[in-house]
Symmetry: C2
Subunit: 667 residues, 2 copies
C-alpha cells in the first residue's frame, strides 16, 4: 500500500495552466494553420499567493530540440495571451511555460517599501544582489554576465535610494527578465499540436474534370496525352489545382451503363469509382487513359504550368479488383462464403465490394491503403480528394494521414463527406486538411450567413477548412437547375469570395443544368458515359470566373479565411460582407444578390469604424469586376444589382491618401 509521500516523487506543477485556447477537444487534435500564418494563444495561468508570475508561449517544429519563445501578457481575470508565427510546412508542438518571477516579486516589493519611505532596506538590497548574482551565472554572454555582476555590486554596496535606482534601471530589468530562474517552472503537458500546412491548403482554386472527357468527344474517351488543352483552359481561367476523378482501371463485372443503368453495352466506359480490373487496382491507371508514364508526363506538364494535380482516393473495389483474389479476407462475406456487394437496403450496388476495415487481417489492409497513397505521392501527386471517408473508420484516417504527412508534410487531404455535421467535423479534427461542405445547398441570405458565421467565427475555423464546390459530378443542386445562367454567376461569386478554397466541376462554366428529373443529379452524367461538349459553348461564364480568380489573386484579404464579416443590408435578397487584412491595407466589400430572377436593391450600412473611416469621410469603392469607381460617404449607401448583368459588386475600398492639384488620390 502506498503512503501519501510516495505520491511526491516529484514536485507537482507549481503553476496552474489551463483552458488553453484554441484547443481542439482539449488538445486531443491539432489546430490547423498554414506556413506564414500566426496564431493567438490564450490560457488561464494561476499561482498561489501574491508573487509575480511570468509565462512564455513556446512552439517548435516536431523533432526540433529548441523552442521559439515569446512572453505571454496577462489580461483581465487571469487570462494570459501571446501570438506565435509558424514558418514551416511541418507539424509543430506548442506549449506554455510559467514560473514564479522571483526578481519581479523582489522588484515590486522593494519599490513598494522604498516608496512607503522605509530607509533600512539592507536585507532587501542583499536579496536583490543575490538574485542578480544568480542571474549572472545563467547568462549566455560574458557581457551580460559582467553587466549583471556590476548591478549586483551596486545593490550589495548601495543604500536604499541606490537600490531603487537599480530596480528602475531598464538594462537591469531587461537582463533579469532575459535570464530568469526557471528551476521551479511548470510546462503544460501534453504539448498541443499544430498542423502547419502549405499555403495552397488554404488558398486555391480547383478545377475538376474527367480525363476521358478532355476533348468532349461523343463516342470515345480522351487520354492523358489529350488533356493539355483542358488544363491550359483551366489555367487561363485562373485555376491552380486540376482534380481528376479516379484514373484507375475500371471493373468489367456488373459494369454500369448510361445514367446508372445496371447493365452496360460493350464499349461503354464504366464508372471510374468501380475500381479494379485485370489491368490492376489502386496503383494502376486505366489503359483507356494511357500508361503510368503518360500520367507522369501529364503531372509534369501541369507542374510546369505552376499548377498541381489532385487525385481521387476512392476505397471501392469492383468485383474484378486484384484484392478480391489476393485478399478475399479483406471483404465482407455471406454465411455461404461469397463476398458481399455494397447495399443500402433495399438498394444494391453490385458493381462495388466494400472493404471490411476490421477484418482479422486489418493491419495489412490498412497498410496497403497507406501504400496506395504513398505510391501516388511518389508519382508527384500531393493532393487527395477522399471519396466518402465517413464510411471508413475515423481513426483509420487519423493514422493514415498522420503517417503520410510524416514523410510528405505537403500532402493535402480533402474529405468528401456530405453527411451529419459532427461526422464532418470529426473527420476534419482527425486530420483532413480540407472538407466538402453544405455550401452546395446553402442558397438564401439567412442560410449563408448562418453557415459561414459558424465556419469562420466558431472553433471550427481552427480545424475545418471548407472547400466550396457549387457543383460536383454527383450533385447538380436545384438552385443551379432552375436559376439559369445568373444562378451560376451568383454561386461563382459566393464560392470565390466566401471561402479561400473552392472548386468547380467542369461544365459549371458552361452552365450545364439538365438534371435527371426530380433529382439533384446530372442527366447523361459523364460518370457513366462519354460526353460531348463544346468547352467554349455560347453563354459560358468563363470570362466571369477568370475575373473572379484574378480578383482573388490580387487581393490578399480574399486569401484569408476567418476575416469574413457580415454587415447589415436592408434587402433579404442581397448579402453584404467584407474581408479585410489585419492592417486594413486591403479591404474588400462584397454585395451579391441571391435572387437569380429579379433585380434587387437596397441600402447598406457600412461599418465605418471597422475600416477606420470617419463619419464624414469620402471613400472610394473600386469595383474590381468592372473597373468602375464610386464615391461614398457615411454609413447608409444604395446598391442595385441585376442577376443577369451585375449579380455582384466586389469593391475594393480605397481611402483618400493624397491630393494632386485638384485631384484626389485614393489608395
Amino acid at each position: 500500500m502506498s503512503t501519501p509521500k510516495d505520491k511526491l516523487d516529484r514536485l507537482p506543477p507549481t503553476v496552474v495552466i489551463e483552458n488553453i485556447q484554441p484547443s481542439i477537444e482539449g488538445g486531443r487534435y491539432p489546430v490547423k494553420r498554414v506556413a506564414g500564418e500566426s496564431l493567438m494563444i490564450s490560457a488561464d495561468i494561476l499561482k498561489e499567493g501574491h508573487d509575480v508570475t511570468a509565462a512564455v508561449l513556446k512552439w517548435r517544429p516536431q523533432g526540433q530540440d529548441s523552442w521559439f519563445e515569446t512572453p505571454m501578457i496577462p489580461g483581465e481575470n487571469d487570462r494570459w495571451s501571446a501570438t506565435c508565427l509558424f514558418t514551416e510546412n511541418r507539424p509543430y508542438d506548442l506549449t506554455i511555460e510559467a514560473w514564479q518571477d522571483e526578481f519581479g516579486t523582489w522588484r515590486a516589493e522593494y519599490l513598494k517599501k522604498f516608496g512607503a519611505g522605509l530607509k533600512e532596506l539592507r536585507t532587501e538590497l542583499d536579496e536583490g544582489a543575490l538574485l542578480a548574482e544568480h542571474a549572472a551565472q545563467r547568462t549566455g554572454t560574458p557581457e551580460d554576465r559582467a553587466t549583471l555582476e556590476g548591478f549586483a555590486a551596486r545593490l550589495r554596496n548601495g543604500d536604499a535610494p541606490e537600490g531603487a535606482a537599480v530596480a528602475n534601471d531598464e538594462t537591469f530589468v531587461g537582463l533579469m527578465s532575459a535570464w530568469p530562474d526557471r528551476t521551479l517552472s511548470t510546462e503544460y503537458r501534453p504539448y498541443l499540436k499544430v498542423t502547419v500546412d502549405r499555403p495552397r491548403a488554404q488558398y486555391a482554386a480547383w478545377y475538376e474534370f474527367f480525363p476521358r472527357s478532355a476533348e468532349g468527344k461523343p463516342d470515345s474517351g480522351s487520354k492523358f496525352r489529350d488533356c493539355l488543352p483542358r488544363v491550359d483552359d483551366a489555367r487561363a481561367m485562373g485555376f491552380d489545382v486540376i482534380y481528376f476523378p479516379p484514373v484507375h482501371p475500371i471493373g468489367f463485372t456488373k459494369r454500369k451503363g448510361r445514367n446508372n443503368s445496371v447493365t452496360s453495352e460493350p464499349g461503354e466506359p464504366g464508372v471510374p469509382y468501380a475500381i479494379g480490373s485485370q489491368y490492376g487496382g489502386h496503383k494502376a491507371v486505366e489503359p483507356e487513359l494511357g500508361t503510368l508514364d503518360d500520367f507522369d508526363w501529364l503531372v509534369g506538364e501541369i507542374h510546369k504550368r505552376g499548377m498541381e494535380v489532385a487525385l481521387d482516393f476512392a476505397i471501392n473495389c469492383s468485383p474484378d479488383h486484384p484484392y478480391v483474389k489476393e485478399h478475399p479476407d479483406w471483404f465482407y462475406h455471406r454465411p455461404d462464403g461469397t463476398i458481399k456487394y455494397a447495399e443500402n437496403p433495399p438498394k444494391k450496388y453490385e458493381d462495388v465490394y466494400p472493404l471490411n476495415f476490421y477484418n482479422p487481417d486489418w493491419r495489412n489492409l490498412w497498410n496497403e491503403m497507406y501504400d496506395v497513397i504513398r505510391f501516388w505521392c511518389e508519382h508527384r501527386v500531393r493532393i487527395f480528394r477522399v471519396d466518402n471517408p465517413h464510411t471508413k473508420p475515423i481513426h483509420f484516417w487519423e493514422w493514415l494521414i498522420g503517417e503520410i504527412q510524416r514523410d510528405y508534410p505537403d500532402a493535402i487531404f480533402l474529405s468528401e463527406a456530405f453527411t451529419r455535421p459532427k461526422m464532418m467535423k470529426s473527420l476534419a479534427k482527425v486530420g483532413f486538411t480540407q472538407s466538402y461542405t453544405y455550401f452546395t445547398w446553402r442558397n438564401t441570405k439567412w442560410e449563408l450567413t448562418e453557415y459561414l458565421t459558424e465556419l469562420t467565427q466558431t472553433d471550427m475555423r481552427y480545424y475545418f477548412r471548407p472547400n466550396f464546390f457549387p457543383n460536383t459530378p454527383d450533385i447538380l443542386p436545384t438552385y443551379l437547375q432552375t436559376g439559369g445562367r445568373p444562378a451560376f454567376l451568383i454561386r461563382a461569386v459566393l464560392a470565390t469570395t466566401l471561402s479561400t478554397v473552392y472548386g468547380i466541376y467542369s461544365g459549371f462554366e458552361l452552365c450545364e443544368n439538365v438534371p435527371v428529373p426530380g433529382k439533384e443529379e446530372y442527366l447523361n452524367s459523364e460518370k457513366y458515359q462519354f460526353k460531348e461538349r463544346d468547352w467554349n459553348a455560347p453563354g459560358n461564364i468563363k470570362p466571369y470566373i477568370t475575373k473572379l480568380n484574378q480578383v482573388r489573386r490580387e487581393n490578399r484579404a480574399l486569401q484569408e479565411f476567418d476575416n469574413l464579416r457580415f454587415h447589415p443590408f436592408d434587402n433579404d435578397q442581397i448579402l453584404f460582407y467584407s474581408k479585410a487584412t489585419e492592417g486594413l491595407d486591403n479591404i474588400i466589400l462584397v454585395f451579391v444578390t441571391v435572387d437569380p430572377y429579379n433585380g434587387q436593391s437596397g441600402f447598406a450600412s457600412i461599418p465605418l469604424d471597422l475600416f477606420g473611416l470617419g463619419e464624414n469621410e469620402t471613400y472610394q469603392l473600386h469595383d474590381l469586376l468592372t473597373g468602375e469607381r464610386f464615391f461614398w460617404r457615411g454609413r447608409r449607401n444604395f446598391v442595385m444589382l441585376n442577376p443577369h448583368e451585375r449579380p455582384a459588386h466586389i469593391f475594393r475600398l480605397r481611402r483618400l491618401v493624397g491630393q494632386d492639384g485638384s485631384e484626389q488620390i485614393f489608395g
Copy 2:
C-alpha cells in the same frame, strides 16, 4: 525508424466518443456529487458508415472491478445521454463504452428488405441465425441461452415472413440487446472522476464560535468543558456543524493585543491564528482551553447531539512554533540566515512566519501537513475549514485532500479563499469540497441574481459548492453595519434559501454590527481579546434563524442546490426565486426584499408552466415562516414586504388535490 504499421500494434478506437459533459477541464478534475444524487452525462458518439451504434454509460466506485451500466440514448445531432446514480461516499470512475450494434444493424436491414417486398432472404436469415447463435454463447444463464438458440433455429429454418416475426419478437430483441458482441467496442479513456461526498457536504448549517468566548465572560476565557451551552443553543437554532477557529497553542512572541495592536499586555489571550508555543503546534490544543481529552470529550458531546465539529486548518506558525526550531529549513530566510516573517509591503506581520512549500525538504513539510489533518481525523474531526488556501500551492491541496479522502472519504474541506474568481474556482477543482464565496458582498438584486446564476447554472455547479457566510470573524460587511436588524434578517433569508450550505459567525444572531471605523472589521474583535456577550440579548434574531433552519429541514427543495431559478418581479428591491424538486412534489417560492430600510411591494410573474399550473388554476401559497395561507390564480400577483416585520415570504406552493364537501384541499 518506425514504419506505418508499427503504429498499428492494436486497433485504434472504433467509435469516436468525445465532448463528454459535464467534465471539468476535459476530465482533469472530478465532478462533485453527494451520495444519493444522480448525474446526467451526455457525449458526442460517432461511428463511420450507416450501421446502428450502441452505447452504455458505466460507473463504479474506484477500486471496484465491475461497473454499473445503463444504456445511452441518442438525441439530436449525434448527442447521446444517460443518467447515473451514486450511492456511496467514495470516489467513482465513470466512462462510456460504445460499439457497432451488429444485431441492430441486421434487424434494421432485414426489416427494410422485407418491407420492400424482397422474398429471397435466405442469406439474411442465416446471418441472423449466426448472430443469435453467437449471442447464445455469451449469455449468463442456461435459460437465456436456450431461448436464443430457439430463435436461431427459427431463423435458420424459417422463410422471410418467419424471419420478420423473429426480428420483431420482443423477447428476441431484448435478449440480443442484453448480450451484445462488444469485441470491437471502444471505452472512453482516461476515466472521468466523480467525487461523491456525503450529503452533509451539500446540505448543512454551520455555527462558528470561539471556544474561549462560549460563556461571554469579559475578562477570562471559557474552556472546552464550558462549551456545551453554546452548542445546545446552536442546536436549538437548527445548526448541525459547530465550527471552531484554531484551538491550538497560541504564540507568545510578538503576540498581538486588542484590536490588532502590535503589542499585548500580559494576560491577553492572543490571536488563535498565530499558532504554536512551548505547548505545541498544530497537533496540540491551547492549554487555556483544556486538554486534548477535553477536546475529545467535547467532540463526543457534539456527536451525541447529531452534530459535528469543523476545525480550522491555518498553516501559520508563530515564532514559538516547534517547527521553527525543529525544521528551520521549512521557512523563508533572509540573506543573514534569520527567518522571515509575513509581509504585504509595507505591512509587516511579525507574529507569523510563513512556510516555504518549495523548500528543499518540501516532502517532509507536505507530509507533516498531511499528518496534522490525519491527527484530527483520528480525533473524530471530519470537517476542515482551510484558512487562506490560495497562498499555498494549488497542487499541494490536490495531493493533500486526495490522500486524506483516500482513507477518510467523509472528510470535508472548506476553502476560505476570498480572492480572484479563477483562483477560487481552481481550488474547488483540485478538491475543496466547499468554498467561501462573494455572497458576503453581494447585496443588490442584480448582484445576487447574476452571481447565483453563475453558481447554479454554469459548469461551476459541478465542482464549486458555495458555503454562504453573511459574516465571518474577519468580515463585517457594510450592509450589516448600516442596515440594522432588518439587514440581518434579510441576509439570513438569502443565505439559507439561495444556497444549501451556509454558516454564521456567532454574534450574527445578536445583530452585532459595530465596526472598526471605516473598515469591514469588527470593533473589539474576539480574535484579539476576551469578549463579553449576552447570548440572549434583546433584539436577537434567534427565533427567525430557528424558523429558517426548520423550513430548510422540512423542504427537500431547499436541500437541492442547482434547482434555483429566478423569476420576474417588477420591483428592483425584491428578489423572487423558486426551488422545486424534480417531481414538483416540493415547490418553494421565495420573495425577499433587499432594502433594509423601507417597505417594498410589486407584482410577481409566476412561471405557471414551470410548476405545471394552468392559467386559471387556483393555487395555495403557504407561508412557512408565518403559517399564513394565500390563494392565487394566474401569473400576475401582488407581494408587499416590510424589512422589519416581514422581510420575506417563503411560500410552499400547494395545488388543489381534492375536495372535502365544500372545502378545497391543497396538498
